[in-house]
Symmetry: C2
Subunit: 109 residues, 2 copies
Amino acid sequence: MNKHVFGNFDHIPEKEIAPGFLSKLIHTNSNTINFITVKAGSSIPLHRHMHEQYSFVLEGAFEMTIEGDTQVLTPGWYCLIPGHAEHGGSALTDCRLVDVFNPVREDYK
Amino acid sequence: MNKHVFGNFDHIPEKEIAPGFLSKLIHTNSNTINFITVKAGSSIPLHRHMHEQYSFVLEGAFEMTIEGDTQVLTPGWYCLIPGHAEHGGSALTDCRLVDVFNPVREDYK
């Protein structure tokens, strides 16, 4: 990313990163930004990755567990997940979430 | 950030980073995430910083100029601003924006 970009999500293809998790992904030099639509009842099992993760909810309710602590995230809530921390969660309703990962998720490219 | 965090924006004090730009700031190990409410008509002059910046609009219309190119950002639009690129903009309506900076904005702490 040496040149600036103006873009619209309409032009980003949707990718199903886990069953029921539909992502639009943007990779900068340093981060991956993940705009996710999740169907109610979809869940992602506990997992770990080396990337630091910051997540927040735009719409709906998502139950997140990090290292054994659980919180229902609704608009206004956010969470910070250090690299290698165990986490996972379930959509209690249809949701829209944003994740920011650092460094870039090469596995999502 | 060695431990995970669940937090709510209600508990983050608002900071006026420029006239009419009210921010709620979160610093991770690698990034600063900036949730901004901007009053219609407020503008931020052209400026540069070493931080890479990713911005998108949650509500409203924000006219952004980067290196001489101008685009009105509405929900669905985003922009990527490389480090040291000249940029600035104006709120055409009341807006809610999100900026992600890498590395951390030490000047915003």
